[in-house]
Amino acid sequence: MIFEIAHKTHYRYHSTVVQSLHLMHMTPRALSGQVVRHHNLLIEPSPASRQAGVDVFGNPNLIVDIEAPHRELLILSRSTIEKHLPPSVKLSATTPWDALDFRLLRAANERDVHVLMFRCASRLTTPTLEIADYSVRSFAPSRPVLEGAMDLIMRIYNDFEFDPHATDVSTPVSQVFAMRRGVCQDFAHLALACLRARRIPARYVSGYLHTHPPVGRPKLQGADASHAWISVWAPESGWVDLDPTNGILARDEHITVAYGRDYDDVSPISGVLRGGGEHSVSVAVDVNMVADATAN
């Protein structure tokens, strides 16, 4: 499938911003099953400098300096992405979660640091004893790791309520767990905390989800959103994406922008400003399918 994505972020500041510096993860990364056919990023006012780089996880990023005084900031990211269906995975045929230590550490082959680093708790995914207890029910001894992970995200999907007003960017995962509500970012962090409490390698994925309008209604422009889900590792399959917000395995409608240990690593736009006072932000995302099959 081919998608055209427009992601518009518009900041309006109460007073003049004297200078601002932004770190962005807005460029979708190339992955197996995901081809970036086209991407461009428009920023207004025009930055004094743009430094593009690739972070330690392999995500493209960009640092921009805006030195001209401004009251508004517009960031428009446009991408054309080609998605392929991931190979199907037999969840019940994966290594038992409690045998991962052996597979990762004791086996004679080289250790894969890019897997090991995602077993460790991070600032936003540190489990509490209560979270560890919650996760244990999905991981009976010897249960295949991805079967357990799927069970866990289904439980989160059923036990937690989607509520955009209950949390904000700084709400800790312990509080999300206590309130039983939050948004996709919170559910992703919670799932990661649960998995990392069992030392199962799991990472945070930031991206877009193609949504379908209710039957018989036209698709509304700007109604899509940036999205977050998780990816869990098993020796048989490598990384497999699971979406706790929707209780599904990700297929070809989840478009990955970046992955990391948690939101801190891949926040779409993170800025440090001088001046500006209060600000308001409006975000509009459109994910449009332009071709149903891969155009050859």
Binding site: L23, S49, D112, V113, T211, A225, T245, D264, S270
Partner: protein
């Protein structure tokens, strides 16, 4: 050894009798197995023996005073609600023989090389992790591992500074109880201790032939210059600021090495360069000596919760890896969990035996270590693997499993199973003891010591021949946990003659270059100095007016007029609020005046009470502490550390109050005197002086307005004239000039118009005008900046004033108009100067993040 003291072999038994009585176990640094003093302590003991007990006590007292005056002991400007940091320095140092030192030196250099290589790998190829020589989860669970620094550390030269805390166990072997790879780890405290100790006991130091520290710091300077890649490098020490518990160390070191001390908001980054915001615009910084934690070094890419470092610093390091030392991310190597892996790492990386081991520890991320802990919980205490670097001695105490009841133990077990990768279990190793100077003479006391290592110009490492020793409680501590703050100097004995004494305070012509250029002034510092000027003048004025009021009630001759004059005085300070405070009553008696004085000193919410003014003065003085001369600082700290001064002022009778105020006025005068005599006449001075002048002009204007508008009757007029001359310290000038009783036009001429009288209004204004002329104009253009326009208006209005005509007027309308004009424009001038030079437009930085917030 050639000194008389050193050749003396017989030590009188009295000196050690108390020490011998108190055997507290552990290895004894002073006495050998046979009970005789070890040879390397002999010279020190001989020197001490030459002093009488009284002289030793006297020196101890003098040390305490010097420690306080230098500012190590008390963070005297700290928030009074936080407990004061204690710091004492013992007369007795720890002595280390040349032989033992060479072993320690070799071992510490080996460790620095090892940690440097480890950091290169972990932030580079990660071969150690891939091969499993170092558990990957030990690294990745440590918040000090900063993923965005990957690739930067290996190119930046990694570990410039390293420090180790050492303790000697019962077996006589030194062990490292903590490593510090983040910052300079309080080296400034060690340096300050040595400076203070040498002032009091330099003769003893010389008698022992102990090694000096100056050559080490000289090498350090050379290394940093070399590292920056520029001959006249602009080096800045980046500190979290005066509120930080380690700030003293940062400020002391910066001053000793002649480096700038800067905070994050003094800096601005562009893609490959860091700049300092100064009065003259942005100046390039060649090298930052980092004294802030790695993770708070860049709010853009690292810890998003704080704003300590300048945002964008990491991308500068990516382009110019040599810009910051230690490289950002090095704190990783101080993870306590690394201890058990160091011998293997030394083999693998250096191909050497590890010469000095860590105290026995287990990393609890290892399941076998967890099992061992659960099997023998009483043997271990549990601590965090990673702890921030702050003031030495503040290491947290361990968590004792045996102290817990069973349900808590179960909970702790589960916590350890969950978070083991961030914890260590450790066994106690004991501490050796060495003498301190106690009330009965020498007493044994356990200690641990911190030694400091840094790169030298050739790229190898050097160890500072000295250190910071602290007394510890051996029953509780496993690390340098010494909240009592009892410190000792560390003396390393030299082999043979030493090179002649060099101090960086007094560089020789060979080591220094003549430099007349202005030291760069940060905009922030200019702002603080401006307010220092204002507050010191305001404090002086407030005390003078209070003294004037009190003197008038004490004059018995005419109680009624005395009271009225006293009230006038207070009116000057209270302005319009006086009626409010006096609750509409005329002040009839002394008691009422005294009540008002008390209010002025400490009371209420008024922003101009003496209490508030002094608080403001201390606060800004603290902010620019590194710009004040030692004497100026000491004057203020003596004044303040006499909290008794304030208490006395609040509780005493008027007569005593007068004495106390005199003392206060003298202290402020001597502070101002030191500032005046010692401060270089650069832009910083201009701002300090402008602050003072604006404050003085305003106070004088308000006083004249209060005293002469509306014009009082003849009797009150002459009393008010005397009062004004007294407050403005111009009585003698007037008398020597006129030999007449004060007359209004003459007094007004002297205090308003006379530009040669340093107390007159026009003198203040013309001084401000001269300062403004000399300042760089940060935005040159054809338009006159607002501050210049205001000072011209102020000066013109005063120069055109006709005092004789004013004095002839019955209603004083012209005088009133003149003063009102001045009093309107002066605050405006102050604001304009702020706006022009201090970046007040820039608010504190803040963040904007978008949240993943779908509407599905």
């Amino acid at each position: 050894m050639t000194t008389a003291a050193a050749t003396k072999t017989e030590i009188s038994p009295n000196l050690l009798s108390a020490y011998r009585r108190r055997d507290i176990g552990g290895y004894d640094e002073l006495l050998g197995p046979g009970g005789a003093p070890r040879p390397h302590w002999q010279p020190l003991l001989a020197s001490l023996d030459d002093l009488t007990a009284d002289e030793r006590q006297l020196r101890t007292t003098r040390l305490a005073r010097r420690v306080r005056e230098t500012g190590i002991a008390y963070d005297i400007f700290a928030d009074p609600n936080t407990s004061a940091q204690r710091w004492t320095l013992d007369l007795l140092p720890i002595i280390i023989s040349a032989d033992e030192w060479s072993g320690l030196e070799r071992a510490l250099i080996q460790r620095a090389r090892l940690f440097d290589a480890l950091l290169q790998d972990v932030y580079g190829h990660q071969d150690l992790l891939t091969a499993g020589i170092l558990p990957a989860e030990l690294i990745f669970s440590d918040p000090a591992y900063l993923a965005p620094c990957n690739g930067i550390v290996p190119r930046s030269g990694g570990l410039m500074f390293y420090a180790a805390d050492l303790a000697r166990g019962e077996d006589g072997r030194w062990r490292v109880i903590d490593n510090h790879t983040e910052t300079l780890a309080g080296i400034g405290f060690a340096l300050a201790n040595r400076v203070v100790h040498t002032h009091v006991a330099g003769d003893i130091f010389n008698g022992c032939n102990a090694r000096r520290l100056a050559p080490y710091f000289q090498e350090l300077q050379t290394t940093l210059t070399h590292h920056s890649g520029r001959e006249n490098a602009r080096v800045a020490l980046l500190t979290p600021g005066p509120h930080h518990e380690d700030y003293f160390s940062h400020a002391f070191l910066a001053r000793y090495l002649g480096y700038l001390i800067v905070e994050g908001h003094d800096l601005k980054t562009r893609s490959a360069q860091v700049y300092l915001k100064t009065l003259e615009g942005l100046k390039e910084i060649d090298l930052i000596v980092r004294c802030i934690s790695g993770k708070s070094s860049d709010p853009l890419e690292l810890d998003p919760t704080g704003f300590i470092g300048p945002s964008g610093l990491l991308r500068v390091c990516r382009a110019s890896p040599h810009a910051v030392v230690n490289a950002i991310g090095t704190a990783l190597a101080q993870n306590r969990g690394l201890g058990p892996y160091l011998p293997t790492l030394a083999h693998h990386i250096l191909g050497e035996e590890l010469e000095l081991k860590d105290a026995p520890r287990r990393w609890l991320g290892d399941p076998d270590a967890r099992q061992e802990l659960f099997d023998h919980p009483d043997r271990f205490s549990i601590r965090k693997a990673q702890e921030g670097t702050g003031r030495p001695g503040q290491a947290a105490l361990g968590w004792e499993a045996r102290a817990l009841a069973t349900p808590e133990r179960e909970k702790m077990k589960r916590e350890i199973a969950l978070h083991g990768a961030t914890l260590v279990a450790e066994e106690k190793i004991g501490f050796s003891c060495a003498p301190i100077h106690g009330s009965d003479g020498l007493m044994p006391k356990p200690f641990a010591m911190r030694l400091f290592v840094s790169k030298d110009a050739s790229g190898s490492y050097q160890v500072m021949p000295g250190g910071l020793a602290m007394s510890v409680d051996p029953d509780r501590a496993v690390a340098l946990s010494a909240p009592e703050g009892q410190t000792r100097d560390v003396w390393v004995l030299a082999e043979g003659e030493q090179a002649p004494h060099i101090s960086l305070w007094r560089p020789t012509l060979a080591t220094a270059r003549i430099e007349r250029s202005q030291r760069v002034i940060q905009s922030r510092v200019a702002d603080d100095l401006f307010w220092l000027g204002r507050y010191s003048e305001r404090a002086d004025w407030t005390m003078r007016v209070l003294r004037g009021a009190l003197r008038r009630i004490e004059e018995d001759s005419a109680p009624d007029s005395g009271c009225r004059a006293a009230r006038k005085c207070l009116e000057i300070l209270f302005g319009k609020d006086l009626d409010l405070l006096a609750r509409g009553r005329e002040a009839k008696d002394d008691a009422e005046i005294e009540r008002l004085c008390a209010t002025l000193i400490a009371g209420g919410s008024g922003s101009r009470t003496l209490e508030r003014t002094l608080d403001g003065l201390y606060r800004v003085a603290h902010l620019v502490r590194d710009r004040l001369s030692l004497e100026a600082w000491q004057t203020l700290s003596k004044f303040r550390s006499g909290e008794t001064w304030r208490e006395a002022l609040n509780s005493s009778q008027p007569v005593e109050m007068l004495d106390i105020l005199d003392e206060g006025i003298a202290a402020i005068a001597s502070f101002n005197g030191f500032m005046h005599e010692n401060m270089t006449r650069n832009f910083g001075w201009s701002f300090l002086d402008m602050g003072r002048r604006i404050e003085r002009a305003q106070n004088l204007g308000e006083a004249i307005l209060t005293l002469f508008i509306p014009l009082p009757d003849a009797e009150e007029l002459s009393s008010n004239l005397l009062l004004l001359l007294e407050l403005a310290d111009s009585f003698i000038t007037y008398r020597s000039r006129y030999r007449l009783d004060p007359m209004l036009p003459l007094v007004l001429d002297l205090l308003l118009l006379d530009e040669t009288n340093p107390r007159s209004l026009s003198y203040q204004l013309s001084a401000i005008a001269r300062h403004l002329e000399s300042l760089p104009d940060s935005s040159p253009g054809s338009e006159l900046p607002e501050d210049r326009r205001l000072i011209i208006a102020l000066l013109t209005s005063i120069r055109l004033a006709d005092v004789e005509a004013m004095a002839k007027e019955d209603d004083g309308a012209m005088l009133e108009r003149l003063l009102m004009d001045q009093l309107d424009m002066l605050p405006e001038l102050s604001n304009e100067i702020s706006r022009h030079y201090f970046n007040v437009m820039e608010e504190a930085p803040h963040r904007a993040q978008t949240r993943v917030d779908p509407t599905i």
